[in-house]
């Protein structure tokens, strides 16, 4: 496997060291270059173009007409925008928090030595691989207000059946269930990968100190995978802000408008409705930019909090 003969170093020390220094300096840039090249080629233009669109009144295929910031002020004045923003926030909270906690627990369990572990690990990823068509029909059946399994169970427990589609909170909870179902296994696998890198001796030391399994999980596992937890929080926050597929799938033909009273219309759905259904591309672009700025400010706050709480922590 050795590519360099041992004596090369002594023959050309100066050339080697210059090459070495150049390598140390340039390698990081070379390593991050593919991402930025790809982004420059396919990501930058959409970003700028969307910004330009957001300042115009324009329909797909039509002429653009300058509006300045009027698309943004129109959003500020629109009840539907604030409604979608609120829905995005509430659905985001009730789907992301349980999802990440469940994933953490699931990853912990999957990390045990056991028979059939491989099968179980793959099984929890199944929701992520399930087709939208199958998932739609399954959940439409489960949440059917007349004869769905969930209302049947609620009936056994002695409660009134719930109208999962037209009532605001039940609909948002149902969507959060779908989100949680779809993404828990995904996050669990990400946690699991991180847990596998936790050094064994930390556990051994903790065990010697008499820490229980639960104690080890809290004081060894969690701190050791903190960067990965931060990763999932960031990604889920972004995912929740851009939530699109699940409410669309849950609402079926009413999906884009988020139910008859817009009770589960998220920002992405509103954007899609504006851009594709009613042809207001400029307003849709303005929503995209608002989402972007919103996320960036959330990110800035998050980063600030991390810096305040761990002033020395870098790397």
């Amino acid at each position: 496997m050795d590519l360099i003969a041992p004596n090369t170093q002594s023959i050309r020390p100066r050339w080697r060291s210059r090459l070495y220094r150049w390598d140390v300096r340039a390698a990081p840039y070379a390593f991050v270059a593919p991402f930025f090249l790809c982004f420059a080629a396919f990501g930058l233009f959409p970003l700028v173009y969307t910004g330009w669109l957001s300042l115009h009144r324009v329909e797909l295929g039509g002429e653009a007409q300058w509006l300045g910031l009027r698309n943004y002020t129109a959003l500020w004045d629109s009840d539907f925008f604030w409604n979608a923003l609120g829905n995005t926030f509430t659905i985001g909270v009730i789907s992301t928090v349980p999802q990440l906690l469940l994933a953490l627990g699931l990853a912990h369990l999957l990390n045990y030595e056991m028979r059939g572990r491989g099968f179980l690990r793959v099984a929890v990823l199944a929701p992520y691989a399930t087709s939208i068509a199958a998932a739609t029909l399954v959940f439409a059946q489960l949440f059917n207000s007349d004869y769905g399994l969930i209302n049947t169970v609620i009936g056994w427990a002695g409660f009134h059946p719930v109208d999962w589609e037209s009532s605001k909170w039940p609909a948002q909870i149902a969507i959060s269930v779908i989100v949680t179902w779809r993404w828990t296994g995904y996050n669990a696998l990400i946690y699991l990968a991180a847990m596998q890198a936790v050094p064994q001796d930390l556990y051994e030391a903790a065990a010697l100190d008499g820490a229980s399994r639960a104690r080890q999980f809290l004081s060894v596992t969690i701190p050791s995978i903190r960067p990965t937890i931060l990763f999932t929080i960031v990604v889920s926050t972004i995912g929740a802000t851009q939530l699109f597929g699940e409410p669309m799938l849950f609402g079926g033909s009413l999906g884009v408008s988020g139910g008859s009273g817009n009770q589960f219309q998220t920002l992405s759905l509103l954007m899609y409705e504006k851009g594709w259904v009613t042809g207001a591309l400029g307003q849709a672009s303005a929503i995209a930019w608002v989402m972007l700025l919103l996320l960036l400010s959330v990110g800035a706050v998050q980063a600030l909090v991390v810096r305040v709480r761990h002033p020395r922590r870098r790397g």
């Binding site: 991050v32 593919p34 959409p46 939208i132 059946q141 596998q196």
Partner: protein, 290 residues
């Protein structure tokens, strides 16, 4: 599992604790697996009934007798061979390059000091916030200008690297890869690519396998963009080719739609079976001697 020196153990990736699962753990995991797998099972059930039965209440829970009729019908309507090859190419290339490039970039962001590192990392994360439902319009302008409509590169090239992957590998390596290891290799005179190959990859393997799997599935099932960039009868991926299945006069035959979904999920399950092993086993032995 006996090790000679403690320093070696400290940074060796291990398959976690060698503790055995109790019955409660088993019960919980089996429950989770059942909840996760049920829609897949139901997909099979639905694909084995007639279109009217599938949408009838209450929904069928046991397989019916129409599976082979439905399979034959779907198979005849769509050029599955070509679609399967295309999808494998797309998902394979996207997964492979995302894993490679993300690991390289993630390593640089996690362990290599360079000017502008924090700013660039923040930029990577910021790019994730661009909503995809709208960027397809400008993206389509790009690929029409390049003449790539209905060509596979239109779906492969924009996804060669993902910010998500870069950030993921960075967060993983920041904790999993001890910086002493990289420095030791440097002292030995190893150049950067050698370090990547001999130090980073062995440590990153569990994360690379997980990332590869997630990205592969994502690319395999992607519909929104491929449906715009490719055409069902030209050069489609599976999801695009299946878009015409179940067409009827003002109604859709859900049994046929779900038969198509089943056909597209089965290869994915095979990949799981294959790749799943790499996530699970083997990693315990991932020791690197210095």
């Amino acid at each position: 599992m006996s090790t000679a020196s403690t320093t070696r153990t400290r940074w060796r990736p291990s398959a976690g604790r060698q503790q055995h699962a109790g019955p409660l753990t088993y019960a919980l995991l089996v429950l989770a697996a059942l909840v996760s797998l049920f829609p897949l099972y139901w997909n099979l059930v639905a694909a084995s009934h007639s279109g009217e039965r599938v949408v009838e209440a209450p929904a069928p829970l046991l397989p019916g007798r129409h599976l082979f009729d439905n399979l034959a019908f779907a198979w005849n309507q769509v050029d599955m061979g070509r679609a399967l090859v295309n999808t494998t190419v797309v998902a394979g290339l996207v997964a492979l390059s995302t894993v490679m490039f993300s690991t390289l970039a993630g390593f640089a962001f996690a362990k290599l000091p360079f000017r502008g590192r924090n700013v660039l990392l923040a930029l990577v994360v910021a790019t994730m916030t661009i909503p995809p439902q709208l960027s397809v319009i400008p993206l389509y302008e790009i690929i029409t200008d390049l003449g790539w409509v209905d060509q596979l590169q239109s779906v492969v090239l924009p996804s060669l690297v993902a910010a998500f992957g870069v950030f993921f590998m960075r967060q993983y390596l920041v904790e999993a890869l001890p910086v002493e290891l990289v420095e030791a290799a440097r002292v030995d005179g190893a150049h950067s690519l050698r370090i990547v190959w001999h130090v980073v990859f062995p440590v990153a393997r569990p994360a690379m396998a997980v990332l590869g799997m997630l990205v592969f599935v994502q690319a395999w099932n992607d519909f929104f963009w491929p449906f715009i960039a490719l055409t069902p009868e030209g050069n489609p991926t599976l999801q695009v080719a299946l878009a015409g299945l179940g067409s009827g006069n003002h109604s859709v035959d859900q049994a046929i739609v779900l038969t198509g979904a089943l056909i597209s999920t089965v290869p994915l399950l095979l990949v799981f079976a294959l790749l799943g092993k790499h996530i699970v086993g083997g990693i315990t032995a991932g020791a690197v001697k210095n």
